[in-house]
Symmetry: C2
């Protein structure tokens, strides 16, 4: 129905919308897509022609409901495939993004329905991001970032905001993964780093840069 490239543009615009931007400028989109502004202008015109987004020259673009539904569906496929790769094929969370970028474009509604059922209708992907449901609804994340915590909080790691392999490998090195238990010992005001106890045995200090990118929730809640 839509090409790989069209789906990638729509997905990127959706992510920028979800990140809080109403109107997406050509340059911002070019940056996100790792391409040139002139290429973006061409593609935006094409997508506007297909009623997938609204475009005002020199102003930027906004997804239409149609465009949003295509983008959400692509995001749903991406996150389901990531879940499959980690849960079923034993990949680690830093290896799956590239492969899911390819798999998300496979065309078959039944394939995705069956995959969803096989995985047990998961609510979150391996990075803790919510998986859009069939009706297009994207649950608000019940998680918050570790830099919003207080001393003595008992937390569980639920996801990350930075998905780069470098960051994910850094966490793996310290044994931090989805489900890891964190007890906050102290928040250091001068550099906003956090001292904590990992899984009730290992004491660690994490920099603010790391802490900002870790999603957590309180221990008593259930994912």
């Amino acid at each position: 129905m839509y090409s790989f490239t069209e789906e990638n543009y729509l997905k990127t615009i959706l992510k920028l919308h979800l990140g809080g931007t109403q109107v997406i400028s050509t340059n911002v989109l070019a940056e996100s897509m790792q391409t040139k502004a002139s290429s973006v202008t061409d593609m935006i015109k094409k997508l506007a022609g297909k009623k997938l987004l609204k475009y005002e020259p020199y102003r930027g673009c906004i997804l239409t409901n149609l465009g949003k539904s295509v983008a959400v569906s692509t995001l749903r496929k991406h996150r389901l495939w990531e879940t499959f790769l980690v849960n079923t094929l034993s990949f680690s969370w830093d290896e799956v993004h590239e492969i899911a970028e390819q798999l998300e474009h496979i065309q078959s509604d039944k394939l995705i329905r069956q995959l969803d059922a096989f995985l047990g209708f998961p609510k979150h992907d391996p990075h803790g991001d919510p998986i859009p449901q069939l009706d297009g609804k994207i649950a608000a994340s019940p998680f918050f970032t570790l830099d919003q915590t207080k001393p003595q909080n008992q937390l569980v790691v639920c996801g990350v905001l930075n998905h780069t392999p470098d960051f994910l490998k850094y966490l793996s090195k310290y044994g931090i993964e989805i489900g890891s238990k964190l007890s906050i010992l102290q928040i250091n005001a001068f550099d906003r780093s956090i001292d904590l106890l990992l899984n009730e045995k290992q004491q660690l200090n994490l920099s603010n840069e790391v802490v900002k990118n870790i999603l957590v929730q309180f221990t008593h809640q259930v994912a």
Copy 2:
């Protein structure tokens, strides 16, 4: 590494080779690829330039070892994905070809290794075709077509030669599937149709056209 289109050409040429043709002519390839001869000439030149096949103008082409290894790898991916769709995601054997045509182009060696392991290193896909192994070896099929049988033979259905949804649905209608047991009652000389007993209870007559496209082996052997 290679584009979807390049992989599809190589895979199609390999299938024609496996069907017994040494040198593949432009028109035959155009027919198989559902495209025009002029397009085939262009692509063949390109593939020859990449050392994937040998091409003599007006004569035809033959895969090189390099081209063969790419084609076999694509065929391996195709058949592993078909197995996954049927065994894991509950698809029926007439629904999987189209989806596997897309999935076979996903680029990740690790993905295929993990998928193979998850499926338990299957030897045959859901149509009974051998799955090429990692080293590139394609097992000769131990199966023969049902029209080569004799009365009183006890057989098991192992695959089909015709993969069209129409044919597969026809078989499904009579309850014939991989593993079905067939007892040959009589071979009718005038139309070469066969009377047989399906799964020890249902008597059937199958036309020669159908019988030619069903792969079987003797009951005592193990797939």
